[in-house]
């Protein structure tokens, strides 16, 4: 390596470091303010003493209020709660009397699997279809993909999930007289029998499809648009004029630059994905964050909900941080700005 190149490498690394530090520093107040507001919303919405109201002991409610410090100002309550929160003491669930921390950890692990496969597969499909549609703009497959995308965006995701259960699990099982449906629609693993990767995959297909149907559609449209932009740019025309092979022009010059906008959209859509989990995990009985939220909300389980919203917010912020970093690495104008 020549000295000049290594100097460029060092500057890049330094710039990236400054960028990441600055972004992290900005995230912390956002997280604190968000968690405070969310804590207040949960606190005023749910009464942790609700199930003591029927108690014959007239002082039971007041004793519990004193124990939990519910008569303190919200700021004090928040500080106490946040202090416990950062040391890993997240309180106990009103519903199951279990510690909240292990509940969330278990649910988060399940959810991360859905999110991981969801993002990976959506990104692959979006890039493949987006590039194909842009390279063969106005071809018949391009029109078909456009039509599918329009329908997918207009479909309520939970309805898509129900249709998928009907047509990819229930109907094939009946039609071919199978012992099991080709794809399962309850949980992430079979309770009994084999538990290899195939079993796992057969459980994952329908929930991941349901979770991602809308974002795949919108990411595909986005990728198509940015690829079209990039293919009509001057540097692509120059590359073509120089006689660079078509494949190389499309992938190296076109696609590389067309990926940058997709990264931003992906970051923004992560919050949407966490919302989608509530529906997906409820339909498919998957014990992840979405299901935990649904169950806790139905029972008014305030300690779990408070931890849930804050952990979710932290995750979305962390994902945004990763996306921003990736973005800055791809595009020098961002990290210098």
């Amino acid at each position: 390596m020549t000295p000049g190149l290594s100097a460029v490498g060092t500057t890049l690394r330094l710039q990236m470091l400054t960028f990441v530090v600055r972004r992290v520093a900005y995230s912390i107040p956002v997280l604190i303010v968000a968690s405070f507001l969310l804590f207040c919303i949960v606190r005023v919405t749910f009464d942790p003493t609700a199930n003591l109201r029927q108690s014959r002991d007239v002082n039971a409610v007041q004793r519990e209020r004193d124990r939990l410090g519910l008569d303190d100002p919200l700021v004090i309550q928040y500080t106490n709660w946040a202090g416990d929160f950062v040391t890993g003491d997240w309180g106990e669930s009103d519903r199951t009397r279990e510690d909240v921390f292990p509940m969330i950890r278990r649910a988060l692990w399940v959810t991360m699997q859905l999110i991981f496969w969801g993002i990976a597969i959506s990104a692959l499909i979006a890039i493949a279809v987006g590039v194909y549609s842009a390279v063969r703009q106005y071809s018949i497959p391009d029109y078909i993909f456009t039509g599918i995308a329009f329908i997918a965006v207009a479909m309520p995701p939970f309805w898509f999930g129900l249709m998928a259960i009907k047509w990819l699990a229930v109907e094939p099982q009946q039609a071919w007289n199978l012992d099991d449906p080709p794809f399962y629609f309850v949980g992430l693993h079979s309770a009994t029998g084999d538990s290899g990767f195939l079993d796992y995959a057969r459980h994952l297909v329908l929930p991941v499809m349901t979770l991602t149907v809308q974002i795949v559609a919108s990411w595909t449209r986005y990728q198509r648009a940015s690829m079209l932009d990039s293919l009509s740019s001057d540097y692509v025309r120059t590359a073509r004029a120089k006689g660079v092979p078509r494949r190389k022009v499309i992938f190296k010059h076109g696609l590389r630059n067309a990926l940058i906008p997709l990264v931003t959209v992906m970051a923004v859509d992560i919050g949407l994905l966490f919302g989608g989990l509530i529906i997906t995990e409820t339909i498919f009985s998957i014990p992840g964050m979405g299901r935990l939220f649904f169950d806790s909300l139905q029972r008014g389980d305030a300690p779990v909900l408070a931890a849930w919203v804050v952990v979710t917010a932290a995750f979305v912020i962390a994902f945004n941080l990763v996306a921003d970093t990736l973005y800055a690495w791809l595009d020098p104008r961002i990290r210098l700005g």
Binding site: V30, V33, A34, L37, L38, I41, V42, V44, T45, F150, I151, V153, A154, M155, P156, P157, F158, W159, L162, M163, I165, K166, V170, R221, A225, L228, V268, G271, L272, F274, G275, I278, I279, T282, I283, F293, F294, L297, Q298, G300, L305, W308, V309, T312, A313, V316, I317, N320
Partner: protein, 314 residues
């Protein structure tokens, strides 16, 4: 548009003096017609075939749903207890549900609620979002900061979670659902309007207006808002679709419209248990109703976008 009005002189180079009468006809044919902005947008919209078709489709759906009490073959909660989960037939076109109610009639009644919530949320959130977005974009300062931080916050927490919590707290009357959805939806429009206003307020004609002593209110109302009307209308249209889907999702989860009131979402919530029994029609028809309605609204939004901004190739 101004350019069209001036066009004859510039393009044809015709003298302003009156031409001889025999030529008048011929010249009038060549003369471009002056068209208002509304007319131009309308003509461009008509070129979008799917959007025009969707307008008629949506009108038909709306009229059918609104006249449910006259045209629905059965009552909203009229039961034939011995005739439950009946497949579609000549008497019950869309079949009957688990307690023997006619699905078609319920879709018509449910559509009233779904459409009402969709339109009301869009109107309310557009009004609030436009006002606050314009103020934030034009004046900047702490209002702008507050708006941006607030919207940042909602990018961080899934809105469906906030909505579900709020609905559980405040109940599920129609008006409450509308207010709560609008309380989340206005932010999208506010962000769009703010962005547009920010770029337009730097334009020369705004500077000219300010130099000639126009007040802020006048500048916003006369010079800025007319130029952001396109994005506002497009987003308001799409908000109707988004509100219908969100309402159905919340009702499906059990936090939205409650029985005995019917909405497409809570029909699906009940039909869900029968998906693997022989009564899948309970899930098909309400879902198709949502799909077709939302698809039509999205096409209209698409047509409006092209009509307002002919350069856009999204």
């Amino acid at each position: 548009m101004r350019i069209d009005e001036q066009a004859p002189d510039e393009i044809g180079g015709l003298p302003p003096a009156a031409p001889r009468s025999s030529d008048t006809e011929a010249i009038r044919e060549m003369e471009p017609v002056a068209r208002s902005q509304f007319e131009l947008v309308f003509r461009r919209f008509l070129r979008h075939k799917m959007a025009v078709f969707s307008v008629f489709l949506l009108l038909a759906i709306t009229v059918l749903c609104l006249s449910a009490s006259w045209i629905a073959p059965f009552g909203e909660n009229q039961q034939e207890l011995l005739n439950f989960n009946q497949k579609p037939d000549a008497e019950h076109w869309f079949g009957t549900d688990e307690v023997g109610r006619d699905v078609l009639s319920r879709i018509l009644y449910g559509g009233q609620i779904s459409l009402k919530i969709g339109v009301a949320v869009a109107l309310l959130s557009t009004a609030v979002g436009t006002l606050l977005g314009a103020i934030a974009g034009y004046f900047g300062g702490w209002i702008d900061n507050a708006l941006m931080r607030l919207t940042d916050l909602f990018l961080v927490v899934p809105s469906i979670a906030v909505l579900a919590i709020a609905l559980r707290k405040f109940g599920n009357k129609d008006i409450t659902i509308i207010l709560i959805l609008a309380a989340v939806f206005w932010m999208v429009i506010a962000r769009v309007v703010r962005g547009q206003v920010l770029s337009i307020k730097e334009k020369e004609y705004v500077e000219a207006a300010r130099a000639s002593g126009a007040s802020n209110t006048r500048i916003i109302a006369r010079h800025i808002l007319p130029n952001v009307i396109g994005p506002i209308v497009v987003n308001a249209t799409l908000a109707v679709a988004a509100a219908i889907i969100t309402e159905s999702t919340l009702s499906f989860l059990g936090f939205g419209v409650q029985p005995p009131q019917t909405s497409w979402g809570n029909m699906l919530a009940r039909g869900r248990s029968y998906i693997d029994a022989d009564a899948a029609h309970l899930v098909y028809f309400p879902g198709l109703a949502i799909l077709i309605t939302v698809l039509a609204i999205n096409f209209i939004g698409d047509g409006l976008r092209d009509a307002f901004d002919p350069q856009s190739k999204h």
